[in-house]
Amino acid sequence: MSRRSLWPRGFTGQVILVLVLAVLVQFVAGSMLIRTGETHIQRADQGKRIAEQLLIAERIIRTADRPDRERLLESLSTIHTRLSLIEGTPAIPPGIDPEAALIATAIFEFEPSLAGHPIRLSLAPGSALTPNRRLAGAIRIEENLWIGFATRETVVNWRLLLETSIRVGLIALFVLGSAALLVRTMSMPLRRLSDNAQLIGTADRIPFDETAGPQEMREVSRALNAMQERLEGVIDQRTQALLAVGHDLRTPLSRLRLRVDAIEDSADRHAALADIGQMTRMLQELLDFFETGENRETRAPTDLSSLCQTIAEAASDLGGEVTYDGPDRLVIEGVHDHLARAIENLVDNAVKYGGAAVLTLSAHGGERGDCFSVKVEDRGPGVPPEQLDRVMRPFERLDASRSDNHPGMGLGLSIAHNVALAHGGRLRLANREGGGLCAELLLAKK
């Protein structure tokens, strides 16, 4: 696939490549034009000089004595044009090639008095590499008397052409550079746009600026905003439907609870009450999941230490061995109930699978301490490494936990993850050395 390798993938690369090609074409065409113009000017210039010299030579020859003529002509020679006296017929053939004819025209245009004289011109053959051609010619003064002339300089001034080319090249380079700069400034908002678009669906709505950048970019921003709004509408609708079902189920569940309560004491009554308890918890879990996902509660200063202590103590009272290790006070800007739910879920899991847990609270992020860590470690079976990511997803459970011993909807870790995200952090799961799981909530202080 050579086409793919030549054609750059990036926006910047593509635009630059097109620009380079355009500038190159312009450069070549420009050079050719300049060269043609240059040649024309030089030809006129050369013709003019030859004409002047020939006119003077002609007048001198006519007035001078015959023996002096040759000497006088020699002295009229310049470094550019050498003059000589030719008696008889010149060695130059009478035919004139088109290029030389143009020079002859230039000579006669400048000195019309020479127009009556026959002229012979020839250009020395040039090669492909050096197309400069020396001019040689002769003009007849009278019968059997010609003034021969030969230019020493080349027809085309290559130095001038080179200088001009360099100048044009520099301009092209400058144009290219500023174009690259422009493309970069154009591609920057594009890159920002794509970076932001990557975030759609991960957190709150990502606002795209509809008033900045070129027109097309604004339209893309508008489209993305509209898309997000539609998506949110769809998700919101679903969530509201599920929440409504969740809420509505609570009334019949209340009735059931009261009816079962009226049954006389039996094993069935206990089992029924346990079932109702499980359904209640599952509903709560579902509602918690949506609520923590929506992240609409206002954040307020909350003491994480007392929160962790209270959760550890409550779990211990229920028979789990949960110890708290951390400072007596650590204040975070957060949603108290959501943080409590997240930590409770982690502790519940640890007690469920490991029987005991250590709850460690600490401040991270160097001296500023702008990140807090709530770590829950157990000595349970842990999670197979390839499933560590999976268990954080909603409704995902390890096969081993789908038994009656572990009722629930598999939302515990998802809720904790939601809460961590809403608090500018994340949930990190890792297997511990020597067995067991370490679940760590990372939370931003503000």
Binding site: H247, D248, R250, T251, L253, S254, R255, L256, R257, L258, R259, D261, A262, I276, T280, Q284, L287, E291, R296, E297, A300, P301, T302, D303, S305, S306, L307, Q309, T310, E313, A314, D317, L318, G319, D328, R329, V331, V335, H336, D337, A340
Partner: protein
């Protein structure tokens, strides 16, 4: 401080018929005469006076919240919400309207009766249903406790978590500051007992030590609860309503 011996009349506003019947039956069995109403309008039309009102939040037409607002403009009769909504915001909205408690469905029948008794006792302590205003916010030594929301705030404003049982214990201390309170009294008033532990003095001691630790994380807080050897505890700070 038992509830007085007189009977307390309760109104139940709940639109779900079967649930209303079941709850009415349960409350009657627990010794409360109950009148049930299906809508807010029906309740407002009745001229009866009640000692406590159990209100469903989601009612057709006029919501339970609106009815609560209406009630508060007229009397201080205690109100307990029962609601299908469990979010913090819903709870706070209910309590801010002046409700005395907020329970989430499905309501544990025993829990409902316990809450009703607790609210009735509290309202009688401050002099009957139409008497003085029950202070929902109490201050001590810079701390602030919101009784309705059941939230505690440290002097610099951050929310400090305490368990329900610790909250009840602190509430008792705040009602009787600078008085020696015996372990029995504390135990009696704690609505939530410590599960899984030997009840009695030891559980009170555990609760007090936990509460001390949480209050004690602030300078000077450690001395707020002083032990009186062999008797009980004294809450040392001044309490302002």
């Amino acid at each position: 401080m038992q509830i007085s011996e007189r009977t307390h009349h309760i109104a139940l506003v709940e639109d779900d018929g079967p649930l209303r019947t079941l709850l009415t039956r349960h409350l009657r069995q627990s010794g409360f005469p109950v009148r049930g109403y299906a809508t807010a309008a029906e309740f407002r039309a009745s001229a009866e006076r009640f000692d406590l009102i159990v209100l469903d939040v989601m009612l057709p037409a006029t919501s339970g919240l609106d009815l609560c607002r209406w009630l508060r403009q007229r009397s201080n009769v205690p109100v307990i919400f029962i609601s299908a909504r469990s979010s913090h915001t819903d709870r706070i909205v209910g309590l801010e309207l002046g409700a005395d408690d907020y329970l989430v469905k499905p309501v544990d029948p025993g829990e409902l009766v316990a809450r009703i008794r607790s609210v009735l006792r509290r309202s009688e302590d401050v002099g009957g249903t139409d008497g003085g205003d029950y202070a929902s916010t109490v201050r001590f030594d810079g701390w602030q406790m919101d009784r309705r929301r059941r939230e505690l705030f440290a002097p610099e404003g951050s929310r400090v978590s305490i368990s329900e049982a610790e909250f009840d214990l602190l509430d008792v201390f705040l009602e009787m500051p600078q008085r020696v309170i015996g372990r029995d009294t504390l135990l009696e008033h704690s609505r939530n007992r410590l599960p899984g532990r030997d009840s009695g003095d030891r559980s009170v001691d555990v609760l007090v030590s936990r509460l001390r630790r949480k209050l004690g994380s602030i300078d000077g807080g450690r001395d707020l609860i002083r032990t009186v050897r062999g008797v009980g505890y004294v809450f040392t700070a001044n309490v302002e309503a």
